[in-house]
Symmetry: C2
Subunit: 315 residues, 2 copies
DNA sequence: CCATTTATACTCAAATTGAGCATAATTGGC
DNA sequence: GCCAATTATGCTCAATTTGAGTATAAATGG
């Protein structure tokens, strides 16, 4: 009577530099991108976190540091193709628990079937560092409008999610935006899941961003939103930076994660007041221009209990 | 080879008035308090949320409104006594998914085996509305100190969690505080779980707050922390208030949830600027003193996209 | 009708934010 | 070797927000 259950663990492992934020991506047998993942074996694993660390280590050679749980998905509508379940019992229902891991540098993983990928490849509409991507006005907005029709609730959701009609763009809402596109049939996964369920394959509409296997892009969107929110009130940014860095490097890294430019002077001033970083006196040999001072993260400040995030003054 | 898995769903259903915050509490066969819960049956349930709504309806007669997922626990150390698993396969490992539900009033549930309980009964150290509870300095601090001994990391965790030695009390950290007490053997559940695993029953040390079945108090602590954080940046407070309310009622309700007094004038001013509420011109017939104006929540403001929380200026 | 209680209004200094302009120290042509 | 371009860093100032106090208004209950 009760159908079998399987718990899948999925890891979004994030690194970032001044250029872009990266996620660790694996490939399945068909070469489709996905997240490092595996099944949770209740007999062999004491906790989710341990199981996750073990899987990630095996699949990518990567040793996880900072880890936090994201969300547990169990929807029927997103039931997975059997191919993704490997050794699960037939017809097993998958419950997937997503985790976020942060790492200070893109460690070498060349020996494994995993690569670091700029996460905006999967979410091209999320990068507003050089202004709002034209993709939104040119393609996403018209496609969503066609989907919404005269349904007021759909129109509302669309405007709020994508910051249309004078609403502000809220970078934390990466999941809402992806789910909206999925619902509107504008994500490759939606096309795939529907044809699998209904065995119909009508004319494929235009879809946005590179799709991933299973519901992995949804988990990645959850991670992006969570990290973007958390960076503002907890010093997680320093889990992603090297030991020493210049203020510009830190700022560009944060901008890459938020997909949003920040106001330089105000960023520095607020950081100064926060006591989160400490100048080292040493200079960095930068590419062109005046050399910048090197800084380090003051872990002591966090232990004093105030635990603030990095400032994010809008530019 | 793979042990059976069961997914348990647990609901923290919260109501609040100017006196206290309440959680909906059920009782097991032995009269021990717990949260409304049930197993997720993958065959019968499409999504976690639907299953949850069904269970809660059956156990408490309660119709859930606002719902959000909290956290998924899967630790081995907190394995549950078989009694709590009811119709699960023997030796099943329980994965428990916690949900938070909010409701504007304490609806009548007298026909069911469920009651509304002031949540501070389970967490007496969390209510700082009338100053820091003396329980902390009198009993918790010495007990934790005895546990920490000279272990610097333990001393540090203790001070940060409970705001000792000049650290600020951070009301969101309800889970950290409970887990610390559990680890230190100062929660009734810890005593119970240890004796179940080790079959020893030494002298029971003093424990704090009323224990709950299974890991339900841990889930309740998660809910408290989450709600306390969210109330500051999303207008969830209005999911808990009646249609119309006075500003004082709103303030006292928020204070009850945070366990923290707020600065009256600044609370009003910030609320004013936020556009979250709108005066109705009508007066409330209060108990004693000048009558207060009635207000209502402006849902329209949220739809305009700014979606701020209620202000929480420290008193 | 007066003391008490509660609500609401007003004020003011301190701190923070937003956004500009000015100056310093490099590199890379020419 | 000098000048332009580039990047880092410093300084200023008005506008806004915060923190916290004082004053006034409108009820209730002896």
């Amino acid at each position: 009577m009760t159908a079998p259950l399987a718990v899948g663990l999925n890891a979004v492992i994030v690194a970032a530099d001044t250029e872009a934020p990266y996620a660790l991506i694996t490939q399945n047998a068909h070469g489709s991108p996905g997240l490092p993942h595996g099944r949770f074996d209740p007999a062999g694993h004491r906790t989710f976190e341990r199981a996750l660390r073990e899987w990630v280590q095996a699949q990518t050679g990567f040793e996880l540091g900072y880890v936090e749980q994201l969300y547990t998905f169990g929807d029927y509508g997103r039931e997975l193709p059997q191919a993704d379940l490997e050794d699960a019992p037939p017809n097993a229902r998958l419950v997937s628990v997503g985790y976020l891991g942060l790492t200070p540098e893109r460690t070498d993983i060349s020996a494994f079937r995993a690569v670091w990928r700029d996460w905006y490849r999967f979410f091209p509409w999320e990068d507003h560092r050089r202004g709002r991507p034209t993709l939104i006005a040119d393609a996403i907005e018209p496609a969503l409008e066609a989907w919404a029709g005269t349904d007021d609730q759909r129109i509302d959701r669309m405007r709020l999610a994508f910051g249309l009609h004078g609403r502000p763009w809220i970078e934390e809402n990466a999941l809402e935006r992806y789910e909206l596109l999925y619902e509107a049939g504008l994500a490759g996964e939606a096309v795939r899941d529907r044809s699998a369920l209904e065995s119909v394959s009508g004319p494929s509409p235009s879809v946005f961003g590179e799709p991933m296997i299973s519901d992995h892009r949804r988990i990645l969107a959850t991670a992006i939103g969570r990290l973007r929110g958390k960076i503002k009130y907890r010093p997680v940014a320093f889990e992603l930076t090297p030991e020493t860095f210049t203020l510009s490097e830190l700022q560009r890294t944060v901008e890459a994660l938020l997909g949003q430019p920040l106001h330089k002077q105000n960023f520095r001033r607020a950081l100064d007041r926060s006591d989160l970083v400490e100048g080292l006196g040493r200079q960095s040999t930068t590419t062109g221009g005046r050399p910048a001072e090197l800084f380090r993260f003051r872990r002591e400040t966090v232990r004093r209990g105030l635990a603030l995030g990095v400032p994010t003054p809008r530019a």
